[in-house]
C-alpha cells in the first residue's frame, strides 16, 4: 500500500483512539465525582470539579492566547 495512505490510516486510527480515550476519561471522572457525592465525600468531589474547571479554563485560555498572538 502507498506510504501516504498508510500514514493517513494510522493518523486516523490515532485520532480515533485519542477521542475514545478522552471520552472514556470523562466517563471515569464523572463516575468518580458521582460516587464521591453519594458517599458524602464532598471535599474530594469539589476538588475534582474545581480541577476540571481549571483545566477547561486553561484549555480555552491557551486557545485564546494562541489566537491573540497570531499563532493560530
Amino acid at each position: 500500500m502507498d506510504e501516504l495512505v498508510i500514514t493517513g490510516v494510522f493518523g486516523f486510527i490515532g485520532v480515533f483512539i485519542a477521542a475514545a480515550m478522552l471520552l472514556y476519561g470523562l466517563f471515569i471522572i464523572a463516575g468518580m465525582v458521582v460516587t464521591l457525592i453519594v458517599t458524602g465525600e464532598y471535599g474530594a468531589a469539589f476538588a475534582i470539579v474545581l480541577g476540571i474547571f481549571i483545566f477547561v479554563f486553561l484549555y480555552i485560555e491557551t486557545g485564546c492566547r494562541l489566537h491573540k498572538t497570531d499563532r493560530i
Binding site: D2, V5, G8, G11, F12, I60, G63, C64, H67, I72
Partner: protein, 364 residues
Amino acid sequence: MAHILVSPLNWGLGHATRDIPIIQKLLFHHHDVTIAAAGNARSVLEQEFPDCRSIHFPDYPAPYSTSRFFLPKFAASLPFMLKAISDERKNLNAILSKDRYDLIISDNRLGVYSSKIPSVFITHQLHYHLPVIFWPVELLALVMNGYLHGKYRHVIVPDNPPGAQALAGKLSRPGTDETKKRVYFSGILTSTHKLDIGQDLDFLVMISGPEPQRKQLEQILLRQIHNISGTCVILLGSPGYHDIQTRYENCRVIPYASTPEKEYLMNRARFIICRSGYTSIMEIAELRKNQALFIPTPGQTEQEYLSWYYEKKGWFHSQNQYRLDLSEDIRIAQQPHYTGFPPVSRTKENIKRLYDDIFAYYLD
C-alpha cells in the same frame, strides 16, 4: 519541449480556473500539457484548451455540508477520503506509466505527486482555520500539512508573502519547516482580466457555492434586492434556471453566465456582492475593485475566516447571510474606512515570475 501533467481538484471551479493562466504560460513556451481532472473542472479546462489532451481522473467528494455544521461532516468523511486518495494514487501510477512527464502540477490534490518526477503543489491554504475551541486540531493540521508538503518540490501559494499585502491572512502562512523551505508565494493567479471599459453597473451580485446554501442565499437576496437603488445584475450561478421573477425594474437576473460574460460584468460593476471564496477574492484584487460586500458560506471556516480578516483589516465589509440587511450592509460597506485590498501585482506579472523562478528550472 517538456510534457506537464496538470491536475486540479474538482471542488468548485476555483482550482481549475486559477490553473488557466499557468497552462496558457506553459503552452506559450511550447510545452505539452495533459489535463487530468474530473467533472466540471475538467470540462472548463477542456473548453479553454481544446488542443490539450485530457484524462478523466476522479478525485474526492467535497465534504460540503447541507447544514451549517461543516466540521462534523468533514470528520465523518475522512475514511472515505482516505479510500479516494488511495484510488487516486493507483490511478496516478497508471497515468504516469503510459507516458513520459517532466513535471506534475497538482492543484490541491494531495495524492498527485511522484518521487520520480518533479511535483509541485498549488494551494492557498497552508494553515486551516478552525474555531478556537479546536486549537489542538489546528496545530495538528499544521504538522499534517508539513508532512504532505514534504512530498513536493515546491508549494506554490497564489498570494503575496505573509505581511501587510497577504490576501489570505493566516491561511497562507507556513507553519512548519517542511512547508517553509518549499513555499513560493506567486501572488494572485486568476483567469479574470481587467478590461478597458467603464463602470456603468451599480451592483453585481454573484451567488455561488455549494447547495443548499447557494439557494438559501438566492432567496435571501431576491427578497431584499428591491431595497437597493441603482442598476443591478444578479448571477445565480445555477444553469438550468429560467423562470425567475424580479420585482425590481433596474435589476436583471441571469441564471448562469459564461466565464467571459462574468468577467465583463465584473469589470462593469462598481460594487460587488459575493461569497468570500478565495477565487472571488483574487478576481476582485486583480480588477482592483474597492467596493464589495462579502457573505461567507455558513459553516465554511475558510470563508468565515477571510470575512473576519477583511473586516479586521478594514478592507471590506462582510455579513452573515442569516443576518443580512442588504441596503444597510451596502451602506456600511460603502463607508470610506473600507479601503479595498492594497494594490497587488497582477496575474500576468505573477505568472511570468512563477515560470521563470520555478517552472523554467524543470522544463527549459
